[in-house]
């Protein structure tokens, strides 16, 4: 069989919630080459960000990705606070870390569930998502929303975690730990799961360095990078925890790293809660007058890896340039290494193993002409149109 079949995965495929088109070039069931078409999800957030004030950008970057809706504001806050040389209060640091780690637990549980679903193991999917609900309840209690938390602002956080809530959080956490044990046992001991995931989608150490992969994808191949440790921010230098690594680089190792990281997250939150009890309630923000001219880089460790924000300020109240690098942007490129030569069944789980998040990856711009359908206008022309329209309206107003 010399003719290659093209197997499209996506853009709307149950494998992923988000639109993305992978074309697997297959010979029989073996994947020979992989190509991707992106662009189904770009919303030109980087450009939008330039038209928003620093306070508004938080709500925008929160919506880059629903699952990482803490990590992006986190990195952005780090970047802006670096420009303005702002030191936030201890209480704000603890609260930020607690939200960040809760998000990691919920994201990893979500991934375990989805991975089970991709393996056709719907029971794991349902169980993991059932155990994820208490985390969302905690979020709802702390922030008022299940997903987009709106907790961050320049110079601190928007809401406090009152001391009365701490005991409730503790209780839920110990519950979650028990459930994680159960799930880890069910997943890690299942011989069929071993057969399906061990030795599949291997990324070597060299591949990771070559593609600059980050997060659990890198840590599963023995590259111990974690921004929380390397370039500590918020409360992470104040608590005691370990970076989890595995050596094999296959899908199983990635699952293992994620499951063990959940325990670390639980322990970090517990230490943060202890810290929270020691500092005064209510001191959650510092006053920020203005953001001076300059550049700032903000990094944060999202559940999927390092989030990188680069902000250029020109002294006005909105960023002059805002560059966002989400972890999936580098992790997705590694598919070229991990998928080729495998069967379709293996390729799909390898694709899923890096926990790809296309929402994060694409934030780019497209300009198009509505009438002719031809894409000819660029952003400046659009802005010009807008300026002309404003001028016209002004004229009308004056005339009337």
């Amino acid at each position: 069989m010399s003719k290659k079949t093209i197997i499209p995965i996506g853009p709307y495929h149950p494998l992923q919630e988000e639109p993305e088109l992978f074309k697997l070039y297959c010979d029989g069931e073996i994947v020979k080459d992989i190509k991707w078409e992106t662009g189904y999800n770009h919303r030109s957030i980087e450009k939008l960000s330039e038209s928003k004030t620093y306070d508004q950008v938080f709500f925008l970057v929160e919506r880059i990705c629903g699952i990482c809706s803490t990590s992006h504001p986190f990195a952005f806050a780090n970047a802006v606070e670096e420009i303005g040389n702002i030191e936030i209060t201890d209480r704000a640091k603890y609260i930020r870390s607690i939200i960040g780690e809760l998000e990691r637990i919920h994201s990893h549980l979500l991934w375990v569930g989805l991975a089970g679903h991709f393996l056709g193991y719907n029971t794991v999917f349902m169980w993991a998502w059932k155990y994820r609900e208490p985390v969302l309840d905690l979020f709802e209690m702390i922030t008022g929303n299940r997903n987009s938390y709106a907790m961050f602002k320049v110079g601190g956080v928007r809401r406090d975690i009152e001391n009365v809530k701490i005991s409730i959080i503790r209780k839920t956490l110990s519950d979650i730990r028990k459930k994680t044990d159960l799930l880890a046992g069910a997943v890690m001991d299942d011989p069929v799961i071993h057969a399906r995931t061990k030795g599949v989608g291997i990324l070597t150490r060299q591949d990771v360095i070559d593609y600059a992969a980050v997060g659990p994808t890198a840590r599963a191949s023995g590259v111990a990078i974690d921004v929380r440790k390397d370039d500590p921010y918020a409360a992470y230098p104040l608590v005691n925890w370990k970076v989890i690594t595995a050596q094999a680089g296959d899908v199983f190792a990635k699952a293992e790293v994620r499951l063990l990281e959940m325990y670390e997250s639980i322990s970090i939150i517990e230490q943060c809660l202890n810290g929270l009890e020691k500092v005064k309630e209510g001191e959650i923000t510092v006053k920020v007058k203005e953001i001076p001219e300059g550049i700032g880089t903000g990094r944060a460790e999202a559940p999927r890896g390092e989030v990188f924000h680069f902000v250029v300020s020109d002294g006005s109240n909105s960023p002059a340039r805002h560059k966002i690098r989400a972890p999936s942007y580098v992790n997705i490129a590694t598919f070229k290494k991990s998928c080729i030569g495998q069967t379709i069944a293996d390729a799909t789980i390898s694709l899923a193993a890096v926990d790809p998040c296309y929402c994060c990856t694409e934030r780019m711009a497209v300009a198009y002409d509505i009438n002719s359908g031809k894409r000819i206008m660029n952003a400046n022309e659009l802005i010009d149109c807008s300026i002309m329209r404003t001028a016209e309206m002004k004229k009308n107003l004056i005339n009337n």
């Binding site: 880890a184 046992g185 890690m188 360095i209 070559d210 600059a212």
Partner: protein, 167 residues
């Protein structure tokens, strides 16, 4: 105790051992100054973890090669800007053992922005260079495959939405 059932089996490797690279933050700056003194235009040290090195565009390959191969830094991403000075690119390199973010800053020509591609050295810069080519129209020389990444078929040739206009 906590997580007893799974932890006692010790299947996960937990090591805190981090690779020790002998090059310290300041040492790497010294080395850069020493080896590439004629290529470096300016060094701004914001603090020990954030350093911006402005270089001549022609020397990007040599400096990136030194940082990636000899010093073992990780390429994070590159950010392009369009300012009054022209097109600027910040190449962000991360030194994971110290938390240093080293920005290699180049300023390109206004009319005909072009620079050597780094993609032949490491794959990580492949996508971002394609992206900068689409959005800013910066030309990357010797790029293996400089086609559009995200906007395929979405706008006409020669229109770059992230460019600004300065009066």
């Amino acid at each position: 105790m906590q997580g007893a059932r799974y932890k006692t089996k010790e299947r996960g490797t937990r090591n805190e051992k981090r690779e020790t690279r002998n090059i310290d933050t300041m040492v790497i700056i010294e080395k850069l100054k020493e080896n590439f003194s004629s290529d470096i235009l300016e060094i701004v040290t914001k603090n020990e973890k954030r350093i911006i090195v402005t270089i001549k565009p022609d020397s990007i390959i040599n400096i990136a090669e030194y940082l990636y191969k000899t010093a073992g830094l990780r390429f994070i991403i590159a950010s392009a800007l369009h300012t009054k000075k022209g097109f600027e690119i910040h190449y962000h390199f991360s030194m994971d053992s110290t938390g240093l973010v080293l920005n290699i800053h180049v300023i390109l020509d206004k009319e005909n922005p072009q620079i050597e591609s780094l993609s032949n050295m490491f794959n990580a810069s492949n996508w971002i260079e394609r992206e900068m080519h689409e959005l800013f129209g910066i030309n990357f020389l010797n790029h293996p495959n400089q086609e559009k990444l995200i906007s395929d078929g979405n706008w006409a040739e020669g229109v770059y939405p992230y460019r600004k206009e300065f009066k």
